[in-house]
Symmetry: C2
């Protein structure tokens, strides 16, 4: 059985997956981010997830700093932090891919801009020339230790 | 133990995670997409993943149509299909998030545009007004069945 840490992987995808890669976690965040869910019962009802699993996931998200638990209300609320809200790009990109490749009846859900109600989609953009490239290559960044220089 | 299917979830994130949400799968795709890995040994050496797990993941990606196995060479090659290459947006978005929130020494890896070598990052953009919105709301799309109308 694999552990939760990708040993030897110095990569921000690996680190992201350690935090949000557990089953259900991204769906919980999606419900908080795009559908206003805040209470345990909201998530449970929408996702139909076992309560022990949901409790473990919410606790993990609080520990990871992706959500914070506010108990000032009669029922505790789970609210996304900035770190959690910043996952919107990854969620939209995964949705776009699923819409294109795994949604034969069309997109089940459309994300609309709160301002103008236009559809929101992900893009990847080159900072230097503004192109939306089909191809890119991984190169070493400042956070790559010497011993992983070929870590790709 | 949870099954591989998110029962009752009519959502392209859920469908995407069924295909690419297993541990190691996105890292395998990343190595293929951004670092030119094609052979079993390439993936095994770079990821340090157990060979039985790697074999299962590659088989799963072929079955899902994300990769195709070419055995015309002396050693079989695993090549991304268009469906697989189209995951670049999700991979870049997850990397951006990890770089921002889980890379205290700076980004370990930088994706550079093959054309001009500029850095490539993800954005979410409103199709209608061109804004990069901080907030969006899920609404029902054509692929949402009647009985899930509140499925958010």
């Amino acid at each position: 059985m694999l552990g939760r840490t990708y040993d030897g992987e110095v990569c921000s995808i690996a680190r992201s997956l350690e935090i949000v890669g557990e089953r259900w976690t991204l769906l919980i965040i999606r419900n908080a981010l795009f559908a206003g869910a805040t209470r345990f019962g909201d998530f449970q009802r929408r996702l139909g997830i076992a309560t022990n699993v949901l409790a473990a996931r919410l606790d993990g998200l609080v520990t990871a700093g992706v959500m914070e638990r506010s108990s000032s209300a009669a029922t505790a609320e789970y609210l996304l932090t900035e770190k959690g809200r910043d996952l919107r790009g990854a969620l939209v990109a995964l949705t776009d891919w699923g819409d294109r490749w795994a949604a034969p009846d069309g997109p089940p859900i459309i994300y609309r801009h709160d301002g103008c109600t236009g559809e929101v989609h992900g893009r990847i953009v080159c900072d230097a020339c503004g192109a939306e490239p089909d191809a890119a290559t991984a190169s070493r960044g400042p956070g790559m230790p010497e011993e992983h220089a070929d870590g790709g």
